[in-house]
Symmetry: C2
Subunit: 339 residues, 2 copies
DNA sequence: CTGAAAGCGCTAACAA
DNA sequence: TTGTTAGCGCTTTCAG
């Protein structure tokens, strides 16, 4: 809210005929103001449409009640729904959410971190745990309260709320192998600067290495779009040893691949099995339903909010906060065949 | 960025041995400071890791370079992707995005408006054009710079960037009628406090009225979830005169209905035609593909950003800004049969 | 229970 | 070119 004609505490005080201190108290500690006065004040506030000035308050209490979140992109439903849950939780605590997006790019993320912080964010929600040294240093030097979601690590200077991407990648792969698949291919997001994609692949490799009869015939990286995933599928099908199953590091990728199989006249899962990762609505809606890994999107958002709120609470108990590890169940639908 | 030991202008000034004014100038108008002083100041700023205090600045210049957006929910991809585009456009202009969600509820929206404004938002992006009088008044009385997206109205005190929901509803209905359908049913979002849902229904009714042989056998309202839409479908199928086509006011609803038809063993579109509204990824991915209305999500986000940035620009030209009407093409896929 | 007043960090006139 | 100073709007002791 801007402008010149915007009412201030003084205006309210003048109308009610009390001091500005009383108005302030009435807003922040209503119980410290006598009932009748309080009522008159409330009425005046309402009639003027008074809203406290952010800068003034921030200056006085040295706190903005604002938390920033920087996510790769809201375009992917998995982040959008995590963010929604995060926002709701913050909102209950009267904290406002600042949003930035990194577009899966470390430099952009760094810029956004600085930007949100300079906008007064009291704390930050970040996705993933690997970032360049300068970003890391920046967070530490300024002792920025923050939590990392979509990942889990116990011994780290940052708190995390999420799951172990590597273990999850391994788990779904084992699951695929147990279905009799021996030749696997992978479609993954670009690993560069994306620890989630990277670790999921690592997990896939773990599972494969544990089983000498299984091999990965191709790993294709691409951006998170249907078309890119379709192109990745084409590249995979072009090689000699054709895989019987394709493990995708995200539902968007898996669905993109499925769409392409349809164009190609391939049947899933009869001709080719495909698995996803995330369990967004898309997974439930494609035909056949996508067998995938459920990522606890909302839970991460909510829990991250709780931790962050605690972190920035000026009179918080000194109880050590803990990173939280959540589970990622496999959701069985119809894209994974028994061989 | 917070903290008690955080350096202030004064600290920098003390180190360099100049006044705080010079530091401030050096930051905001470097050319107004002599070269050597400037260098010394910059060095001091760097070494201290000084970052201007947001509240102080906001108080002094009465501007935050922050814009708020309040959307019904990021859970629906249609808003998430509009918001993503909006955020990107703002970010290019070094403006930060504050996000609130209304959960399709006017009271919550009002709260969020106040909250974002009190957090210092210089302007606001809102969805839809109908809101309770008190919200309306509030916006006007405080002359909050704002634009309304997802709707269009030429003669209104607010600027809008979007499309005519009524006309769009009419258009898709005409399209359905042209396919030979005579008994239609509607599944729509809850009309209460949701002008988009409301107007789309109005448009549907317009099209039906224009054609005496056509009738609406049922209008079912429900929340935006697959299950609710499924239940709505059940209610529709329970009535005597069964419709041959169901027009849904959103893709989520349409897909929810399709999912239910599958459970019921009904074939779309042979047994029942279904149309959607939004054209989100889901629409492309279901089988058969959903015939729907494309809503220019990203374009609205981008254009709204441009207008809003102009609106809050302190030295903006007095050129009148115009509301923008975008088109909503019908995307033909496979859920609408010729009768 | 209420008021007076200091001061949070910054900017922008105005002076020098 | 630089410094002085008066606020911006709010909260919070400290008195009354």
């Amino acid at each position: 809210m801007r402008g010149t004609n915007r009412p201030s505490l003084k205006d309210v005080a003048a109308i009610v005929g009390v001091s500005t201190a009383s108005i302030s108290r009435c807003i922040n500690n209503p119980q410290k103001v006598a009932e009748p006065t309080r009522l008159r004040i409330k009425k005046a506030i309402e009639s003027l449409g008074y809203v406290p000035h952010f800068g003034g308050r921030a200056l006085a209490i040295n706190r903005t009640n604002t938390i920033g979140a920087i996510i790769p992109s809201m375009e992917n439903a998995v982040f959008a729904s995590g963010l929604q849950a995060f926002q709701e939780a913050l909102s209950h605590a009267k904290v406002t959410l600042l949003v930035g997006s990194s577009n899966y790019n470390a430099t952009q993320e760094y810029d956004q971190i600085r930007s949100l912080l300079s906008q007064g964010a009291d704390g930050l929600l970040l996705i993933g745990k690997d970032r360049p040294k300068n970003t890391q240093d920046f967070l530490e030097r300024n002792s920025v309260p923050h939590v990392l979601a979509w990942c889990f690590a116990e011994h780290m200077s940052s708190l995390t709320v999420g799951f172990d991407n590597r273990k999850s990648g391994q788990k779904i792969t084992k699951h695929v192998i147990e279905h009799g698949h021996r030749k696997l291919a992978v479609i993954a997001g670009l690993r560069e600067g994306n620890d989630r994609a990277h670790e999921r692949i690592l997990g896939i490799e773990d599972a494969v290495k544990a089983n000498p009869t299984v091999e990965i015939v191709a790993i294709e990286e691409c951006k998170y779009s249907f078309n890119e995933a379709g192109a990745a599928l084409d590249r995979i099908l072009a090689i000699e040893k054709s895989p019987t199953a394709i493990i995708c590091s995200s539902d968007v990728l898996a669905v993109g691949a499925m769409l392409r199989t349809k164009d190609l006249g391939l049947r899933v899962p009869d001709d080719l099995s495909i698995t996803g990762f995330d369990d967004i609505n898309l997974a439930r809606v494609v035909t056949p339903g996508l067998t995938t890994v459920r990522v606890p999107q909302q839970e991460m958002g909510r829990k991250a909010a709780v931790i962050l709120l605690d972190l920035i609470n000026p009179n918080r108990s000194n109880a050590e906060l803990q990173s939280i590890e959540l589970t990622t169940p496999i959701i069985t639908r119809g894209t994974l065949a028994y061989l």
